[in-house]
Each structure stands twice: as C-alpha cells, then as structure tokens.
Symmetry: C2
Subunit: 230 residues, 2 copies
Amino acid sequence: MNIILASTSTLFGGEYLEYLKEELTRLYEGIDEIIFVPFARPGGISHDEYTAKAQSFFKTINIKVRGLHEFEDQISALNNAKGYFTGGGNTFLLVKTLHEEGVMTVLKENVERGKPYLGCSAGSNIGGQNMKTTNDMPIVYPPSFDCMGLVPFNLNPHYLDPNPDLKHNGETRETRIKEFLTQNDLKVVGLREGNWIRRIGDKITVEGSELTRIFEKGIEPYEIEPGSEL
Amino acid sequence: MNIILASTSTLFGGEYLEYLKEELTRLYEGIDEIIFVPFARPGGISHDEYTAKAQSFFKTINIKVRGLHEFEDQISALNNAKGYFTGGGNTFLLVKTLHEEGVMTVLKENVERGKPYLGCSAGSNIGGQNMKTTNDMPIVYPPSFDCMGLVPFNLNPHYLDPNPDLKHNGETRETRIKEFLTQNDLKVVGLREGNWIRRIGDKITVEGSELTRIFEKGIEPYEIEPGSEL
C-alpha cells in the first residue's frame, strides 16, 4: 500500500495542503490524474466547490482532479482511477455517503491493491478501522461506523492537548479517547496537526513535526517521535 | 410537563449539582424517591459507582435514589417511579442502552404525563428531538439517534465560544452546529455551563447565569437572556 493519512489539510497560517507538497509529489509519483472524494463537505459547501479547492492545489503539482460525485457510475470510476484523495469535513456525512453509494469497500480494495491514497482529517478517519474516534458532530446517521481499515488502528485527527486554563467541564480529547477504550480494545493514534501516518507496503510510520500520542487499553497514554513505526 | 435540562452537572470549582439545589427542590416537590439513569457512564465508571454519586447529592435534599440498572424489569420500574434523573457522560452509550433496553419511549411517556425529569449534559441531550448535536465521541453505534423530544428543538450542552487564541484547525462548536443546519432544519439551543432549560406545562424558558446562543437554519445565530421563552 501507498498511503498518507494526515491530521489536517491546512496548518495554522498556511495554505491548503502546502505543508504536504513534497510528500504528495512522492505519493503520487508517475500519476497525472486522481479522484477526489468531496463527500465530507466542510461547512456544508457543495461537492463542486470542494472539488475546485482540491483542483487548485493539485494544479501546482501537475495532477488533474475529478470529483467522485461527477460520475454516474462511481464504482467504475474508482476502479479505473490511478489514485485518490479524500478531503476533510464531517466524518458522519462522509461515511454515510460512502456506505449509501456502496463505494467504501471499492475504495478500500483499490487502495489495498497499491493505488496511492491521501486522506486529511475525516478522510484520514476512514482509513482507520472505524469512525468511533472522530471529533465530529453526528449531524447525520450513517448505516454503519465501519471504515476501510487501511491501518490496524483508529485515528484521532486534530489531536489536542488539554488546556489547563479552560474553566469548562466538557470532556477533554484524552477523556473521550479513554471512554472509547472502556468500550473497545483498539489502539488509537492521537495525531496532532502537522503530523501524518505514512504507509508504504507493510511499513507504517508516523511523520511530521510533532510527537504523536498513543492510547491503548489498560496502559497509560504515551508519546512517540516522528519516524517511529506503528 | 415538569422538566430541567441542564448544560452541566457541575460548575467549575463547584460540587456535583450544587448550583441547581434550590431549583431541584422545586422540581421534585413532594417526591421522596426517584430513579437515576446511569447509562452514560462518564469516564467508563460502573452503573453502581455512578448511582452512588447521585445518591450522595440527593441525600442532602431527602430524596432516595435507585439506579435503573438495579431492576430486572426496567419498564415497570420506570412506570412505577415518581421522578427521574439522567446523568451526563457519553450520549452514544446512553442512547444505545436506552434503545436496546426498550426504555426510551417508556421514559418519554412518563415524563409527558407530568412526572418530574432532570437531565444533565448527555441526560439533557436525550430531552431534545435527537442526539445529532451532542459533543460526544461516537464510541459505540446506537440503533438510532432519535431521542425523547420533550422540547421541540435540539440542545448543545457545554456550549463553548470560539477561542481566538487557539492555533488549531479543528472545527469550533459554532461551525459544527452550522454544519448540522446544512443537513437538518431544527432549532439548536447552545446551552452554556451555568444555564438550564425549564419546562413547566407548555411554558419553556432558559434559566441560569449566562446568555444562551440560538442557532436556526438560514439566519445568523443570536443570543437570548436568562428567563426568555423558547
């Protein structure tokens, strides 16, 4: 497999996908056209608007982008494609749409056969085993929380450390992930902004500028350095 | 109906339910025993531990508390009870358990007949039309997101204003609720900590110390004062 699962598309103060540019050139080496999955619709923007945003970045690395929603037959479109990118937004909306269109498994099988895949945020969540560690609001009801399972764990993108100054009794991100572990026995990778998971063949590493926080049932959360194997 | 739906059980620096004590004495006037619904299990604590926590507060206002989980026949227990309290925790776990035990509708019907109900956080979410505006992590998959609909809108407990200093690209609470409104046409009450919704008969007001932020499809969010009708 040949995969990037990134915490975020955009670093604070940066441009869309800019910090990943070099890495994306390697991911998509030899490929001049990919399919963009726009179903997560951040802020409710249209599939066309979202696809245009992806196109304007990928033009700078000479890759043509077509939105999956443009195809009458999405299954054939995915099977014929050379590579994929799923953008961020709302994971519930993304997972619901992928299941309803019957393309979650089709995408998974193509990526498992070695076609390059980039996910950001919600698009990274669907690379995990299921979407039970998303931060998103459940604005729609998906027929299942199951995802592609491109890696043998779950992700928590935009992982955020507790803010000790906050006088608020809502749960911290760490509390939420620990609650997940009371109901599920599955590793969760808390992926801070600036980091991404890289899978090349069977080797899975975490890359980027920050430490990565790992949560497992029955042990205290711990941090790993960029470049560590997962 | 005779209902309190509170943003939180505990104010920063305060004791469990302390800030609601006077209001709860009125809610449960003439009642010496209630049933506690412990299914949201904050931090994964057991039903017994959570029930003990509720008992230790309600002892101070001379009300006996029994956990719903203690009853073999939960439906009869709810039908025979004089009043109810559902504690906070994880809304997905709460809603899944209520649907699986077949008691969501039983609780709803009893509260609609006038028996007093207190909800905090997740326990307040289930008073709304559905759980699609919870902040919680989807750690389990409920058979439905539908809730009791004791009020004709949805709630967002622990409502939190955007923090302009945060250099982070995760969505703000306001962004999330606006995404909900792109997929649903239903009023959302952003209930800050310190506030609660009070329903007496057909009159529904928002009470407490803070302004309340209201979100509706197609208009800009707006604030209402404590005491305002909803």
